[in-house]
């Protein structure tokens, strides 16, 4: 929704004669770590782009947000060009799908700009519109948000706390994470994935000891006890081998290891996880996660398992990969996304300071899983694709 002004001047040719007005913006309700009731808002542009077949049509021009059925989420309304004292009122055109919890009916939005929405039903070919009214509940609409409500899909996970043989070099060969550590990690992961209507559930825990044999030449010396990758030669062969080690079928297998050693890096690299898609024909799938990785990394790799950033069985560039300058999360739109390419915990050296905070605090990466499917973005539309894969069957 936008107000469009077109002005005419009768006596002269006019070169500039219109102004589109968008006085508000929807944003994540909080800053800091992921919270399940504070989803990222997909506010990439105003257009609604290509829509999955089940989402119906919309006339909304604005942002999208996801809600799991039964959940209440918070979204912040930011005043871009409008007086702080002018009240806003929020309505849902289909409260049987999405209900406005706060502000209460007839009350204006509070000074903090927070609105709360509850997901009621997940239906095919229909969607609700959240409207922002100026001045009264019946006032003119100055902004719109399109929430999508999703039934919860539970994805079962088998967690492996792995010991790798051959650690005679002082590097611990077993993951340092405890069961409690891993449970806490999945709590954050599920906060990130909740707006997509997806929850990862630890159904089984194993503590295996393996010897990786696929690249014996690579696992000598200090590399023993690590998962070794070699970017110059079938880089993920040991990850693939690990995925085949006693996996639990019909679950996503996550192998926690002490370290992933990048042989092409003289210092052993700092690869923060590997995830492979569950789609048929790709082979063993799952996640290898080293002790240096965090919850954002785990959520990211689980995205790969649900086929994000993969097309047709082969790996394609991540959202922000650049053929000539790979490995930089170069712009603020891609820095916000969970499915990024290069995955530093801190910002790149030399980047402008404003890049350091994309809504999660200084130096923290974003967690946006995209609802919009832009024609000029090969790897977005992530929520629809992830849900399609999570719905199964899981091989």
């Amino acid at each position: 929704m936008a107000i469009q002004v077109k002005a005419f001047k009768k006596t002269k040719e006019v070169k500039v004669h219109s102004q589109i007005i968008v006085p508000i913006r929807f944003m994540r309700a909080c800053t800091g770590p992921p919270q399940k009731d504070c989803p990222d808002v997909d506010a990439r542009g105003f257009e609604m782009a290509t829509r999955p077949k089940t989402w119906g049509v919309t006339e909304v021009r604005g942002a999208m947000v996801g809600i799991t059925v039964g959940d209440t989420i918070k979204v912040r309304l930011s005043r871009e060009d409008i007086d702080n004292h002018c009240p806003f009122y929020i309505t849902s055109d289909k409260p049987n799908l999405v209900q406005v919890i706060s502000p209460s009916p007839g009350a204006p939005v509070g000074a903090d700009g927070i609105i709360q929405l509850k997901g009621i039903r997940d239906v095919r070919d229909d969607t609700a519109i959240i409207k922002v009214h100026l001045g009264s509940p019946e006032g003119p609409v100055i902004g719109e948000l399109e929430p999508h409500t999703f039934n919860l899909i539970k994805v079962n996970v088998c967690v492996h706390r792995v010991t790798l043989q051959g650690a005679n070099h002082g590097i611990p060969a077993m993951t340092g994470r405890s069961d409690d550590d891993i449970t806490a990690m999945f709590g954050v992961v599920n906060a990130i994935w909740r707006p997509c209507g997806i929850e990862f559930v630890i159904k089984e825990r194993r503590t295996p000891t393996f010897t990786l044999t696929s690249t014996t030449a690579l696992i000598t010396g200090p590399r023993q006890g690590c998962v070794v990758i070699d970017n110059s030669n079938n880089w993920a062969v040991q990850h693939t081998e690990l995925m085949g080690k006693n996996p639990k079928r019909h679950m996503v297998n996550v192998y926690f290891v002490n370290r992933i050693w990048d042989i092409t890096d003289p210092n052993g690299g700092e690869t923060l996880g590997i995830g492979t898609s569950m789609i048929a024909g790709y082979g063993n799938y799952g996640v290898t996660l080293p002790d240096g990785a965090d919850e954002n990394d785990l959520a990211h790799e689980l995205g790969h398992v649900l086929n994000l950033d993969f097309h047709g069985g082969g790996v394609v560039a991540h959202a922000d990969d650049n053929a000539t300058t790979r490995h930089f999360r170069q712009d603020i739109m891609t820095r916000r996304r969970l499915m990024h390419s290069y995955n530093p915990h801190a910002v790149e050296t030399g980047e402008p300071p404003y890049r350091e905070d994309v809504g999660y605090g200084p130096d923290l990466r974003g967690c946006l899983l995209t609802l919009k499917d832009l024609p000029n973005d090969d790897t977005d539309g992530e929520v629809a694709e992830a849900r399609r894969r999570a719905r199964g069957p899981i091989p």
């Binding site: 002004v5 219109s18 060009d81 409008i82 001045g135 000029n376």
Partner: protein, 120 residues
């Protein structure tokens, strides 16, 4: 100059006839102005679309938010900041362009499309 109060139609559009070079659009609530926008009615050129200031002028006309810096407190001042980068990225997303704005730089196709969309 004062123009009559008007309401948008269902398509959100208002058309007005004015005299002079510039008008101020006000959103009114209970008779008070709660938002103001400068609507430029001008034969004068915008800054070139190749210049950051010209890009900001066009983005603003098209409704993209640029923050509140600058003399008019609308982010149109020729200086790089994250709001301009966000606006260019949003514009690229909306118009099927390669989403590649880095450090607030708009590439040539983006510059050309900005000019096309504004008509000048």
């Amino acid at each position: 100059m004062t123009t009559p109060e008007k309401e948008t139609g269902e398509d959100g559009r208002i058309e007005i006839h004015i005299q002079g070079e510039q008008a101020t659009l006000q959103l009114l609530w209970e008779g008070r102005a709660v938002a103001e926008y400068i609507v430029t009615i001008s034969n004068a050129d915008l800054e070139p679309e190749t210049a950051l200031l010209g890009q900001q002028q066009r983005l603003r006309i098209l409704g993209y938010q640029l923050g509140h810096m600058g003399n008019d407190q609308n982010g149109v001042d020729g200086n790089k900041r994250w709001e301009t980068e966000r606006a260019i990225l949003d514009f690229q997303a909306d118009h099927g362009l390669t989403i590649n704005c880095i450090n607030g730089e708009a590439d040539q196709p983006t510059q050309a499309r900005l000019k096309t969309e504004v008509g000048w």
